[in-house]
């Protein structure tokens, strides 16, 4: 086998591996759920623990400043706890330490944009486009865009692609 052919074959194999790895990662990447105890305790009583990575820092700051009207409910916390959780969420935000995952969710957002819901991000809307246009989320019952595990059964464990 000529030197050129070996090189070509290796390149082909490498491309195939890279392609399959990317495809695999897209389907099987996991966003590890938060383990920060105060955040887990305070945020998961009422709803699934949404990953901080899915929103930018500015969103978390806004959400945590408005706990007296948290999506139509009062969710106030003692000030120390509120600050500690805000620190965690902004640190792990999509434009913070969580950017490995979060950069996807931040696509299409401008600097300073602070969506209040993950479902308002362009990335979420693109990924759920067909379901949004079919009105799946508007049906009564559990299929609200806030209820990830209604469709992504393993969402609470960090798997969203299934």
């Amino acid at each position: 086998m000529s030197h050129r052919r070996v090189c070509f074959s290796l390149l082909l194999i490498a491309s195939a591996l890279l392609w399959s790895d990317t495809a695999w990662a897209d389907r099987h990447e996991r966003i590890p759920p938060a383990t920060h105890a105060p955040t887990v305790k305070a945020c998961s009583d009422c709803h699934m623990l949404y990953p901080a990575e899915m929103l930018p820092k500015a969103s978390w700051e806004k959400i945590m400043k408005n706990l007296d009207n948290h999506f139509g409910e009062t969710a106030t916390l003692p000030e120390g706890e509120r600050q500690e959780i805000t620190r965690y969420l902004t640190r792990m935000a999509g434009d913070g330490d969580g950017r490995a995952w979060g950069r996807k969710f931040l696509r299409g957002l401008s600097e300073g944009d602070a969506p209040m819901r993950i479902s308002e991000t362009p990335y979420f809307q693109r990924k759920h486009g067909k379901k949004l246009s079919a009105g799946v989320f508007k049906k009564e019952g559990s299929r609200s865009p806030a209820n990830c595990p209604a469709c992504h059964l393993q969402a609470a464990q960090g798997w969203y692609e299934e």
Binding site: H47, M48, F71, G72, E73, T74, T76, S142, N147
Partner: protein, 137 residues
Amino acid sequence: MKAFIVWMVGLATVVPQHAWSGEQASLLEKYARQARQESPDFTVFQPQRGELFFTSRHSGGKPDTPACTTCHGATPTSSGMTRANKPIEPMAISKTPSRFADPDKVEKWFGRNCDSVLGRPCTAQEKGDVLVYLLKQ
């Protein structure tokens, strides 16, 4: 002094009849003390009043949460559901014996939920009435 005796007698008629834990009983005592401070007319907590409070639609709160039962289910023995679809264990002590054992947790949720449902803090009497109602379920 007379009112104090009435209160003691009232409390004695309510508290010892039930196998409530020390935490649950002392929480009730705390609310009784506060209720007396808030209103000299207060005598005892009444489960019937608590039931009415728990099941009524209130005004003044946030539009999505007009009643306790909005999230907690129609009766204290039924499970509830948060508006974000997380199940809430029944409030009735017979179904969820660990209820009301942590006074800080009770205060945290009365604080939030009274504001959501009524748009104001609950009075100690309202809290106590609901508590005796749920402790008897």
